[in-house]
Amino acid sequence: MFGVLRGMGITFKNFVASYFLPRKPNSLETGGMVTLQYPEERLPEKERFRNFPFLIYDTKPDDLRCVACDICAKECPPKCIYIVRDNDEQGRPLKKPKVFDIDFTVCMNCGICEEACPFDAIFMDHEFEVGGPERQQSLVYHMDQLLKPATHFAKIRPTDHVAIEEKRRKEAEKKRAAAQAQPKPPEAKPPQA
């Protein structure tokens, strides 16, 4: 009897409080209304939030960082990445992908492709409102849908962007230093050609 009454007192307290206390989503205090009116209001995006990979390019979609090394496709636990390397006219392999497909229905957003990529070419996106009119074709993402500029990455993950730019700059410097230290191979074209 008294346990029931106490429980009812607690629910009544919550009932009354819901009219008088402000709604405070994303607060750390115990209790209170935490409802978020979703499409209109949104929680602040967490920087590390990961959902579905995208391919990054620096300035224009042609000079993407991906070199079609296939490491992400090998490491992907559910094997949702499919890569075909591009060839030039003579049939020699180029350092860029011709086909880069990711199947959204298979991808489990684990982020291992991002971790494994040695060229910082694939990253996890923040986009989570994804849908398609049917189950097969519209959810297989092709390269044109996957390509996103570096500015997008800088926007969604500023901290990581700074760190990665720093790392890439150092690597480039090291490469340049190594190139300067070594004598140039005779068949290499001069840089200003």
Partner: protein, 386 residues
């Protein structure tokens, strides 16, 4: 004041006066009946629609949610949207079902739920028909729900429905008994079965001489209300449609408008049971200052609120515990309550009356608790290992 109090009665009279100018006397009677029927037929479903909204809002607030707020301001158009959804939904009848009975059951369940509105006194002079056996009529007609529910559950040809139907019959039949007995003190005190007379008997003390302020009235009120909650299958007595156990009980196989009819019957009986409890023990439309129908609505909706508050708080009882509660606790206590009511009227002196009745009720409920000791919760102590 009197104008406001009688506003609905007078408007009906005005319509009848207008009609009598060009209609014969016999036809006036029919028109009068039609107006009352029309008022109830509009009020019943309307109440049901907004009770669903009220419940969703209230339970939502209890659970720190907002509740419906998308359709209309405060979600006030939500019931209409729900109604449209229900009407346009496909009506599925299971292949093995008894199609006729399956169709009839939701119809049969709504009729008694609407019929009982006719004896509910909404305000002074505001009762559709002042039957001299009004209370009996109410209890008898509302008991018909049992048959409808069993029809629906049997005709669905679904095991969950069947289980729900069996539970319903067991529950409603058991709670019918203490419910009638809990109503007896009010009948004893007012000397009538007419709902209007019962309300009029509580008219003293500036409209505050409600039965609930006497010891027997208080106990009777609680018992009647509890049985009423069980009668309309509400938490904590909602085992016939226990969602987590038997999917949806008797209305598992119903969809579309038929499902809406089950809901309509349930919510209308929530309203009528609360109305009857208010009538029997809370003085119905009696009360100072406000118009009589306002008092009635305040009391009724307060009781409806408590029912929904129960829903937002309590888990449900098990089927055997429910039966145990009805037969081993409520039934004896209601019988003792009738005895106490008799003693109240055959003794004189406030002190003696109060002492005697409170004493008997306390002792008997304590004895009943002792008898039910094996079914009561026990205290537990827990050890900790390092």
């Amino acid at each position: 004041m009197i104008f406001l109090d009688q506003i609905f009665v007078n408007s009906k009279k005005a319509i009848l006066n207008l009609a009598s100018a060009f209609l014969p006397t016999d036809a006036i009677l029919i028109v009068s009946a039609l107006i009352s029927i029309g008022a109830i037929a509009a009020f019943g479903p309307f109440t049901m629609m907004y009770l669903t909204w009220f419940e969703r809002k209230l339970v939502g607030r209890i659970q720190n949610r907002i509740g419906p707020n998308r359709v209309g301001i405060f979600g006030l158009l939500q019931p209409i949207a729900d109604g449209i959804k229900m009407l346009t939904k496909e009506d599925i009848v299971p292949a093995g079902a008894d199609k006729v009975v399956h169709f009839l059951a939701p119809v049969v369940v709504v009729i008694p739920a609407l019929l009982v509105f006719s004896v509910v006194p909404f305000g002074r002079n505001m009762v559709a028909i002042d039957l001299n056996i009004g209370l009996l009529f109410f209890l008898a007609v509302s008991a018909m729900t049992t048959i409808a529910i069993f029809m629906g559950s049997w005709a669905s040809r679904n095991k969950f429905s069947l289980l729900g139907g069996m539970r319903t019959v067991a529950q409603l039949v058991s709670y019918e008994v203490p419910m009638v007995l809990a109503a007896v003190p009010a009948i004893l005190a007012s000397g009538s079965l007419s709902t209007v007379d019962i309300v009029e008997a509580q008219g003293g003390w500036n409209g505050l001489k409600w039965f609930v302020f006497t010891p027997w009235g208080f106990v009777g009120f609680l018992m009647f209300y509890l049985c009423g909650v069980a009668e309309c299958n509400r938490t904590p007595f909602d085992i016939p449609e226990a969602e987590s156990e038997i999917v949806a009980g008797f209305h598992t196989e119903y969809s579309g408008m038929k499902f809406a009819l089950w809901y309509m019957a349930e919510f209308m009986s929530v309203f009528t049971i609360s109305a009857l409890t208010a009538t029997l023990y809370l003085g119905g439309y009696q009360g100072p200052w406000l118009p009589s129908w306002a008092w009635f609505m305040i009391k009724t909706y307060a009781l409806v609120f408590v029912m929904m508050w129960f829903r937002g708080t309590l888990p449900r009882l098990r089927v055997d515990q429910m039966m145990g509660l009805a037969w081993k606790f409520l039934l004896p206590l209601t019988l003792i309550n009738i005895l106490v009511t008799g003693l109240w009227y055959f003794t004189s002196g406030l002190g003696l009356r109060l002492g005697l009745s409170i004493g008997i009720l306390l002792v008997s409920s304590w004895v009943l608790v002792l008898f039910n000791r094996p079914y009561m919760p026990e205290k537990r102590v827990y050890e900790f290992a390092e």
